[in-house]
Symmetry: T
């Protein structure tokens, strides 16, 4: 077939360590239930603070995956 359709799902990955690990945690969780993941795009970077320190970095992600024909 000459074309595909993709679906884009939005998630928020989190990590106490930093931005890259929050992205990886989010992608890991998404790949547990979705197949044919193709790309991601960061939509926002936020975080939760406790006692003047970063408790969790929260990275918004759009994740695209190919739908079956």
């Amino acid at each position: 077939m000459s074309h595909h359709t993709y679906r884009v799902t939005e998630i928020v990955g989190t990590s106490p360590e930093g931005v890259d690990q929050a992205i990886r945690n989010g992608i890991d969780r998404a790949s547990a239930t979705l197949r044919e993941l193709d790309w991601f795009e960061v939509t926002q970077i936020r975080g939760h603070l406790e006692d003047g320190r970063i408790a969790h970095v929260q990275v918004g992600l759009k994740v695209g995956f190919r739908l079956d024909e």
Copy 2:
């Protein structure tokens, strides 16, 4: 586990009454099928007009909920 992943779903809540009720109607419907709802964010406020009056207010909402590990 030291971190969670959240999913964000986008809905449009509607109401003939106004903005707050449209938000509540959308959240009520979302909570009928989704557990662990955590936050929402208004993305747009629109409405449908009939005979020069507001028939329905339509409020776009992103709703975040925690995924199971």
Copy 3:
């Protein structure tokens, strides 16, 4: 005829009471001079303060209406 064209006019409705009433006041005024109003979209919510209180809420609205063929 198989298609229509719509015009979009931009107004600011105001109210000392709140957001919903400001929207209704703006739509009421628009419907006094325009026919075939079809939809609205909120573009911004601002307000004027006097003596530390809200004197008027000001809601920016795009209002769409169908043009005659």
Copy 4:
């Protein structure tokens, strides 16, 4: 019932032919699994290039559909 709630799903329709066909391909795929499709909105138009030519146009779409009560 006096109000409905809608869900908005995000997809990317593709086509080697052009923008309109990519939209139609995306909507066709969405309608294969979703009922009560109501509107769409184009979020972006991109494309993949090979040998200096357009291999596929990729059109991002938000698609809204009515949820059952």
Copy 5:
């Protein structure tokens, strides 16, 4: 005179056929009542769906025209 002022009006052109025809339909309707049309700019591309198919493509357009001195 060494300068002109332009007015920008916002319309929505529609078509069951596609994006280009919706733009043309909107411009045709605008040119029926406005003279000295100079440029247009697409602000959004949306559409209405019926029975899983595109009933109408709706293209938001800002249309600029020169005001008489």
Copy 6:
């Protein structure tokens, strides 16, 4: 003096009741420490959910006030 300078401070007002009350709560708190409040502008509307219900609406506000000469 022929001109003033204004400062803009950003706050988040909250309320379990709805958008208008969250705006009023934020403005009330700002007016407790700032004089010459002049206008506000809503930057975002979010909320916190608990047990599938709205616990608090959170309204982001930019609040402008006139600086002393």
Copy 7:
């Protein structure tokens, strides 16, 4: 009456001299046909170049004016 409605019209003022004069030219032209002008807002600053020099600065303006009750 306790509230007013405003209309917002969009124009482009131009000038070979610069940004401020383009704004003034646009406002002058608007005030020739509209009463009760209240505020303006710059939406964009562009210009036309000829022979490597600025022929005209073009300033997009939204102009708000109070509607009669």
Copy 8:
């Protein structure tokens, strides 16, 4: 080598026919001087009007291509 760097150039393709042809014309011209074109992204759709008709559609494009190592 385990990674590439891409450059993004911005062009405006034009056509009297429509959006798809304007994109193709822009890509054709870009591929005359650039190798390894990889993707494009539409940044805006505008057009020039003459005698109440579309003289040219103008499509802003960001075009990405791989740089040599």
Copy 9:
């Protein structure tokens, strides 16, 4: 010390003369109370109209300054 932190404050400078003077008036007022001002960024250009003329240009400014270690 190998790094600094900066604070960004938002003000609105005004002037009956024009954009440049409104920026200068805002910066002058900010420098009366803040030390180590480093940069500014224009966030919006608006103005107040009276009797069909510009009474004041209002320029929104973000002003960055270095915090003491």
Copy 10:
């Protein structure tokens, strides 16, 4: 009390090391003078280059903290 108000301050954290360290440096400096820090949000990521290398990464941050009642 059933509601809180939060204030949002904007800072720029910097670091020669990278994005995560710049965020931490900014938050550390903010927590030296502000209590009850609750969340942050990245507004932009920039950097200063010297001799073709990154001298400092600069991360814009909005930091929210709870105001006393």
Copy 11:
């Protein structure tokens, strides 16, 4: 030939005097190396502060020019 392609280059013009002169300085420098300059668009207005005064205004500009066939 019935159509042209344009390239858009991004520059930052600067001036100790103000916005208009910074635009002119940037255009002058661009016209020293590029032919067929056609239009510009202001993308941002920033500035550098020294001793509480404006050292340079910096105006971001997109400059469009026609490519040879």
Copy 12:
């Protein structure tokens, strides 16, 4: 001379490791052909996924450099 003009070029740096390394890779490649690099700004963070894992992080960068007089 009392002022400089800067050019802004847009690139995409990539890395299998993470965001900071993708920025560094992009800057390294840019500095191989451009002199007087002055600043960068992140425009987007995306990535390519393979087998449910991040194959490459892709960071869009605007890079500014000073033009010779």
